[in-house]
């Protein structure tokens, strides 16, 4: 018999079902984007596939009414959990004026939505780490009970900004959670050519913070460690580094051909432990979801995805006149 792990971790049946729903929504939105890209309707996709469990597990461990998130480009699961909608994401994919992330100015995957405390991001990797530290510092100055949560890839953990940001957070004991979504590749470069340490979390001690590595395919385990880190932060004990290990199930982006550098076998092995499948199986084993519910959930989600696609496809582009707007504050 499968052990009930979510209750132990403090998650209700409703919560884990909701987690699964968001993971599935992220996956379906992502898959739709690939279809749209391959049919020439949108120029670019970068995927969350394989990382939904880590993203949604972590988001649920935060205070989604109060905390700040600084997601990286794969974090569909994080932003959906923090209130962004499928429609918002599709508007971004189609680069339409109404896109709340950027009004169609940025590529998809460059999230930002102030009302949900999703902090605007750029393309150069890892710049968001010091931003997360600054937000935690500001919140601390104001005596607010806020944690900031920032993610990045394992390749990106080699940037100077990771080091400088983590060190600053450590010295000032700031409530920041640094989560490295280790998907084992940085475009074509495997982790052995990116880092010489056994685990990304080995870096934590150098910043005087705890470091843990968890199975990124297990949303409950990710929930548990992020929850702990958030509590630590709220208690004034400082930052934490969490590494979630999973596998990038798609090519790096729609511009990449991953058959150039990894074998189809390796990918199909990883697909066997796809978190959408394994977490679905867990919910069934727990009796929280049955086949019929699953089918219904899928149907509902497809409806949402279809509606979002149609809406976004038909929405207008930004007017050319807006090109020069918002360089500086308007008087």
């Amino acid at each position: 018999m499968v052990e009930n792990r979510h209750l132990q971790a403090g998650l209700s049946d409703e919560q884990v079902l909701e987690m699964y729903r968001i993971m599935l929504l992220a996956r379906r939105v992502d898959e739709r984007m690939w279809l749209l890209n391959r049919s020439g309707k949108i120029p670019f996709v970068v995927s969350c596939q394989g990382q939904e469990a880590a993203q949604v597990g972590a988001a649920f461990a935060l205070n989604r009414e109060n905390d700040y998130v600084l997601p990286y480009y794969r974090d569909l699961g994080v932003v959906l959990a923090f209130g962004m909608t499928a429609r918002d994401l599709m508007l971004s994919s189609f680069a339409k004026a109404e896109d709340p992330n950027s009004g169609g100015r940025q590529m998809p995957g460059h999230f930002g939505q102030k009302k949900n405390r999703i902090v605007t991001g750029s393309s150069p990797v890892t710049t968001q780490v010091p931003h997360a530290v600054g937000i935690a510092l500001a919140a601390k100055m104001e005596g607010k009970d806020i944690v900031s949560f920032v993610t990045f890839g394992e390749g990106s953990s080699n940037q100077g900004d990771f080091h400088e940001g983590a060190n600053f957070a450590g010295v000032h004991k700031l409530p920041v959670i640094l989560m490295c979504e280790n998907n084992q590749y940085a475009i074509s470069v495997p982790i052995e050519k990116q880092l010489a340490c056994g685990k990304v979390s080995d870096r934590a001690i150098g910043y005087g913070m705890p470091g843990v590595t968890v199975d990124g395919n297990d949303p409950i385990e990710v929930y548990r460690v992020v929850k702990e880190a958030a509590e630590r932060g709220r208690r004034g004990e400082g930052p934490s580094l969490i590494e979630t290990v999973s596998y990038r199930l798609t090519p790096h982006s729609s511009d990449d051909d991953d058959s150039q550098y990894r074998s189809p076998d390796e990918v199909s092995e990883a697909k066997k432990i796809d978190p959408i499948i394994t977490f679905g199986a867990y919910l069934k084993a727990m009796g929280i979801m049955d086949d019929q519910m699953e089918k219904k959930l899928n149907e509902e989600i497809m409806e949402v995805v279809n509606e979002a696609t149609d809406y976004a496809e038909n929405a207008p582009f930004a007017n050319e006149d807006t090109l020069s707007k918002y360089v500086y504050a308007e008087r």
Partner: protein, 327 residues
């Protein structure tokens, strides 16, 4: 109204703004108990405490990046780079992040940070403690770059920078810190960012410059005045984006223009000033647009002979002006 130095105006502006708005805070290397290596934050740690005057680890990209995060949250950080030369590790944060936050988010987020740094030469600082770095940033829409020449301007412009809703680079000439003094009002005033200022009215020849060179130009103008030559001096004050109207007006007024910068010549701020004039009021000119600048070598050397030969000074300005008048 007291006579104060350029650096005292820096401190006064920050103190007043910190008193006025609790969201304003300072971060940087040695800005706390030591009060900064130039003493530009002197007394602030004592008055506002270590929460608002933060000694950071030695890491400029984090100083900028943490400041940017705090600014996006809603604070008003003033980040100090110990020397302008050491802003280089923070360029990615400044250009890729601060400058683009409002634009890329379609006005959803913005980034009201001030980044202060002492720049400029003539202090035996050698290659890495003497540079003018403004040209690196003067092609980045979203940024504003302020480089005041006088204590009065320092106070009014630094206060304006702190209240500005967008990122401002505020470069202070380190040789001016204790050299330049004048009367500065005790009360609260701000000066407009983006506006140049006529520092001397004249009829025969126009100088357009900024920073310490304004003073060299004023001295040269005095000397020429005794020979009956009247020099018009425009102080750019904000070097990006430039005040195009003021530049055109100053150039057209006399028809003879000398542009001055302490920076290396090629690709400097005054190149853009020249291009604005050549594009908009070419036919008002009676002489080529002349430029006086540092030589195109990487940065000024330590040895006094070489440093002197690199630096602009009143004599060089005077000579260039006489040549131009005689043209």
């Amino acid at each position: 109204m007291a006579v104060i130095s350029y650096i005292d105006a820096v401190i006064m502006a920050m103190r007043e703004e910190m008193e006025r708005d609790s969201r304003v805070f300072v971060l940087g290397e040695d800005v706390g108990i030591k009060g900064g290596v130039f003493k530009a934050t002197s007394g602030l740690y004592e008055q506002f405490g270590e929460q608002r005057v933060i000694d950071t680890p030695l890491a400029e990209s984090a100083i900028a990046g943490v400041g940017i995060g705090a600014a996006m949250y809603g604070m008003r950080p003033i980040a100090e780079m110990q020397f302008a030369d050491f802003i280089m590790p923070a360029i990615n944060q400044i250009i890729s992040e601060a400058a683009k936050i409002r634009y890329r988010s379609n006005n959803d987020w913005h980034c009201p940070i001030v980044i202060r740094a002492p720049y400029g030469g003539g202090v035996h600082g050698a290659l890495y403690h003497s540079q003018s770095v403004e040209a690196i940033f003067a092609n980045q829409p979203g940024l504003k770059i302020v480089m005041p020449s006088t204590p009065y301007d320092v106070k009014g412009l630094l206060k304006a920078a702190i209240r500005d809703d967008d990122p401002v680079l505020f470069f202070e000439h380190k040789r001016a810190y204790r050299l330049i003094k004048e009367e500065v009002p005790d009360d609260d005033y701000v000066l407009p960012i983006g506006k140049a200022d006529v520092k001397r009215e004249g009829e025969d020849v126009t100088v357009i410059t900024y920073g310490l060179c304004v003073h060299f130009a004023l001295q040269a103008a005095e000397r020429l005045a005794s020979d009956g030559v009247s020099v018009h001096i425009l102080d750019l004050r904000t070097v990006y984006p430039l005040d195009q109207e003021a530049i055109m007006e100053a150039a057209s007024k006399t028809g003879k223009v000398l542009l001055i910068t302490e920076d290396n010549k090629e690709g400097s701020i005054i190149s853009e000033v020249s291009a604005i004039i050549a594009e908009n009021c070419l036919f008002d000119l009676d002489a080529p647009i002349m430029r006086l600048a540092g030589p195109d070598v990487p940065a000024m050397p330590y040895s006094p002979s070489l440093e002197k030969s690199f630096m602009v000074n009143p004599e060089k300005v005077e000579k260039a002006l006489r040549d131009l008048v005689a043209y």
